[in-house]
Amino acid sequence: MSEWRLLSLGATDPYVSQSLKEMFLQAFKRELIPNTLCFYVPKRHVWVGRRASVEKQVDLEYCRKEKIPIVRGLLGGTGAVIFDEDILDWTTLVLKEQPSIQDLRHCVAEGLRFMGLEAELKPRSNDVLVGDKKISGTAIGVFHGGFFIFGGDVIVDFNYDLCENALLSTKNHREWVTTLKAQLGREVSFSEVISALTQGFETTLNIKFDEESTSLTEAEKQILESLQEKYRSEEWTKRGRWSPVKDYWRPL
């Protein structure tokens, strides 16, 4: 039974929360960290997927007026999600095929079952459902060198009004998104969800977590700092393209 590191960072800055995945990838590639599961609660922002069109997904005027940051993530497709300190996010970084993609998704459903919910994986989707409604979204990145990044969120509570105002989606979020609070009919703490998901990972993957830590290593903090320029840049946010190499030739 292998031992993984467990991290819980609490409420995090939007740019930091979206750059954690790339930080873990870089740290893991440099063999600075072991397999890690990290939980955090992103502060208010709009997340757009790796391939999303910001103009088509987000009400830019509303976000500007309300000073809501828009941050592009490393993973995900063409969608967008609103965070408002009510969603628990996580990032897992593992060697490819150890475990499989499907196993990783089962960890989430299994964790939610520990909370007494009938959670199921939606076929041909990254979503985890409870009673036909989305309660969790996941995303996976496969990277050169045999690495998986598995990220996702569990919707503890949800600001439907903010979602309707900030996103241009025509979907009725009240109909297809549910929350732990609604499903369990009570307040739910983040620590309770972390405990359940941790059990889900341990049971499904036959692993054991070491004692929960609440801070990153110095090396991780340094990498995270170096990534802030990218995640805060207009080029990354608008076009999903960025490198530390300056481009004088790109057509405007």
């Binding site: 391939r51 969608g79 996976i140 990145g141 076009r239 960025w242 190499v245 300056k246 481009d247």
Partner: protein
Amino acid sequence: MPLQIVQTKPNNYHFKTKDNQRVDIEHRNRQLVVTLHKWGEEASLEISLDMVLSDKHQFLENKIELENEAFKLRAYPIEARSTSDLYGDSEDMVQCHEGGVRFELVLKSKPSVNFFTIPIKAKNLRFSYQPFLTDEEIEAGHIRPLNVEGSYAVYHTTKKNNQYMTGKAFHICRPIAEDALGNKAWCKIEIDKKATCLTITIPQQFLDEATYPVTIDPDFGYTSTGGSTRAIGVSDAVYRAGSAWTMPASGETNYLRAYIGGPNVANCKAFINQKDSEGANSHGQIATKENLNCAAAAHWEEFTLTGASLIAESAYLLNIMAFYLGGIKETYAVYYDANGAVASYWESQASYASPESPWNVSPEATTLDYSIYVNYTKLAVKRGLFKGLFPRVIGKK
């Protein structure tokens, strides 16, 4: 195992790429001359740089180096790498799969001009420029790493399939200029229409502000796969893509291979259609095969297609579609290079359950070389046929 340079004569060196192709490095006429061979002696690319001349060279740490007052010029092997490792690209696409050679120029001080020209000699090679992606292409699911934008894919002028695979020999990536403080800028490369010289231009502003020395790193990578990707399947749509090719000889198919991948697994169908066999832009299907659970990581997927007849001088469309099994709004993709040789085809509303047959589709406005090829056995010329018939004819007389 790292690619190692071997010295054969005082001024002659070589190394072998992972696919056993030979790269010669020679100190000739006071210049450093590098020759990349592909498919034995079938195709080659020779590069040199006459602005760096020296009577002496050094062979140190697996690098050959010439030096004069203003410059250093080095040639050395490079390994397969990802765009993330090379320059921090979030796309993380693998390049130079079989290794390659870096032809590295070091500017000791600010040069009088911001460009330098590498004379090239190409044998049986076609150079295809890879333009910058437009916003529309990005939105439509195309992915092109930053060092592929403004680069050149190098293909055999006339051959592909069997041992030539996609026909791609090399990829000349867009170089990076880096100063002594680690500041970096993309350079521009341009190959003239006659393919006699490759010009590298460094941004003048970068040269003005740089702390010297400045290093420029053009890479000539060996690969058979395209440098860009295009979606062939998402969770709620199926796309069908392929390129046309005229068969030089008749034969029977063994298999078709496509270079594909995505964030999760996909079921894929590969097809061979005969171009315009059912009328203009109506391509009759001659073979198809489905592979289930094709891997997520980029790979060559092999579809067994045994015994389909291919006719000499007829054109065929090798094409593929995917039923993506992963999440919403993710894409499963096929690799390609822009500005291809013949014609390419794309269907945006394909049916995976009931693929169109014949495939009715017009060529794309911009031709793409999809990384799909077929392996076939050439039909032997039956020399005995006439021998067998002739005596009987004579006998009747």
